[in-house]
Subunit: 307 residues, 2 copies
DNA sequence: CTGAAAGCGCTTACAG
DNA sequence: CTGAAAGCGCTTACAG
């Protein structure tokens, strides 16, 4: 093409303010360049951090992200799945929820690439990105024990499923067993959720019943803040009277007082990875199907002290 | 149509797992049923809460939300705007950022409905949803003064623009003037951002210089937590030695210790409203163009006490 | 009321 | 290499 022609075209593009129509393009090549992420809740630090990673990875490849908030409800989840199917998203990240068989088959019938992030998957054929919950909890409990704690309460937020299915509860129990420590009735509290309120009531319950506790291991940071609140309400100082340990390492873990000692999950990185797994798959670079487990680390701040 | 035929069609829909193709539909009627929201950052409680409201309102009408994180950068923002233009989103919510004239004209040329949420708009023709910053800050300062505080520090996070442009700073100053209280050098600290770290360094600065301060008014909750952290580092107890007041009423305001007394912005409701403004406009129910200002309220918790 | 045709704005395969 | 045509899956206006 003559340079002059090209210049003229570009000029027209400018003048008419022409933008290529991505929806027409999508109709042709059956690719929308959009990924969806499904959360039960979208306003907490967990979702926010994951989303941040997902967004960065997607944006780098010119993809955009649709966020879906289900409130954990079956109805709304199915509703969303239908919508995403109609919108022809290229991939779905199912985050921090239980992937019911019903959801899995719905998505698989549509042949939409799917990845589960930090949630329970009932279907082994769906790749999962998570930390080793059992190991992480084992390590956390062993850490507290090594600091001289012998009576440690635990609060778990995912009361669905049996305790055996809860890796974090199992790891906690195994660490006790391996260190010759017995667990008594009510020492691990199973709550319905991972939120602050759950931690408050769980913490209250724990501290009211088991007055000899010197530490509490909470399976989320929000839960841990709830425990701190409950401790405060009983006139207990953290960490002097009670050590509190969290899980996740959300932004608020370093904003609170005392700053929270916690088990860090690399949530931003997990989000990035979930997106690139899907992205690579879409470009045919690699098959989907491998689970990936991320390392956790204990980050020591000031809510735990030696006994 | 015969009932039998209808049944057969429905059966085929089932068997073939047919889902209507929304992208083909969008190509036809030039409506994508998707809204975009643009944030500088997506992982904080502010964005999360707003997003939650936006999502609810949009979902109720069958719309989905694309989230865009700009990091506050001009480059990435423009990049996103181009992408959104190509994807033919039906509306854009520009949240908690400065709407540069450059952005405004880009969007207006494309005739994409636009709304600014809690950010500065340089363009009066763009509808804005916000609280009355000046009034809110005035009220907060007056509240502290009414509790007997006479030496109050302030930290503001939006150091761009002149102090006169900062409603919160102005309100703070006017309350002092109206109560016959003088402000001294360094009593209001202008920081670059509204984050925890900014609060820490601003708080440090404030407490190191002005040792007679009995209260600090921070213009965001994260900033307030930073101040609490700085106070703690100097051995000051909140609220006994120093009262701290925040702004926003994010979820973390009630999770921290002591729970934060703060100026509440109805962020969830603002998000909902921003979305329905756009949605109503798209359905021709009403014109865009009115600014809407939301009421703030002081929520008293435990980080402030009477002098 | 029913059914065939045109068209939305692209991309891709094909003819010249 | 260039250019016209077909087709992606819908909706809408129009003919029968």
């Amino acid at each position: 093409m003559a340079d002059e022609t090209r210049a003229n075209v570009l000029l027209a593009v400018q003048e008419l303010n022409y933008k290529p129509n991505a929806v027409a393009r999508s109709l042709m090549n059956a690719r929308t360049k959009t990924l969806a992420i499904i959360f039960p809740n979208v306003s907490d630090g967990f979702s926010g951090t994951v989303l941040s990673g997902v967004e960065d990875a997607a944006h780098a490849q010119g993809f955009s992200i649709i966020v879906c908030k289900t409130g954990g409800g079956r109805e709304r989840t199915l509703d969303y799945l239908q919508l995403l199917a109609e919108k022809r998203v290229d991939g779905i990240i199912f985050a921090s929820e239980v992937l019911l068989p019903e959801y899995a088959t719905f998505i698989q019938k549509l042949r939409i690439p799917l990845v589960v992030l930090s949630g329970e998957s009932s279907d082994p054929s769906v790749p999962t990105l998570r930390c080793d919950d059992r190991l992480a909890a084992y390590t956390a409990a062993a850490y507290l024990i090594s600091l001289g704690h012998e009576r440690i309460g635990m609060i778990y937020g995912g009361a669905y499923g049996t305790p055996e299915q809860n890796g974090r509860v199992r790891g906690f129990e195994e660490a006790h067993r391996d260190h010759g420590l017995a667990l008594t009735e009510g020492q691990v509290q199973l709550m319905d959720g991972f939120a602050f309120k759950d931690g408050q009531v769980g913490g209250q319950r724990l501290l009211a019943t088991l007055t000899d506790l010197t530490a509490v291991f909470a399976s989320s940071d929000e839960l841990a803040l709830g425990v701190m609140s409950a401790a405060h309400a009983r006139g207990l100082q953290v960490p002097d009277d009670l050590s509190v340990m969290g899980f996740d390492d959300l932004p608020l873990a370093e904003m609170c007082l005392p700053p929270l000692t916690t088990v860090r999950q690399p949530l931003y990185g997990m989000g990035r990875r979930a997106a690139s797994l899907l992205l690579d798959h879409l470009q045919g670079i690699q098959k989907l199907g491998e689970n990936v487990v991320f390392p956790t680390t204990i980050v020591e701040r000031q809510s735990v002290r030696r006994r």
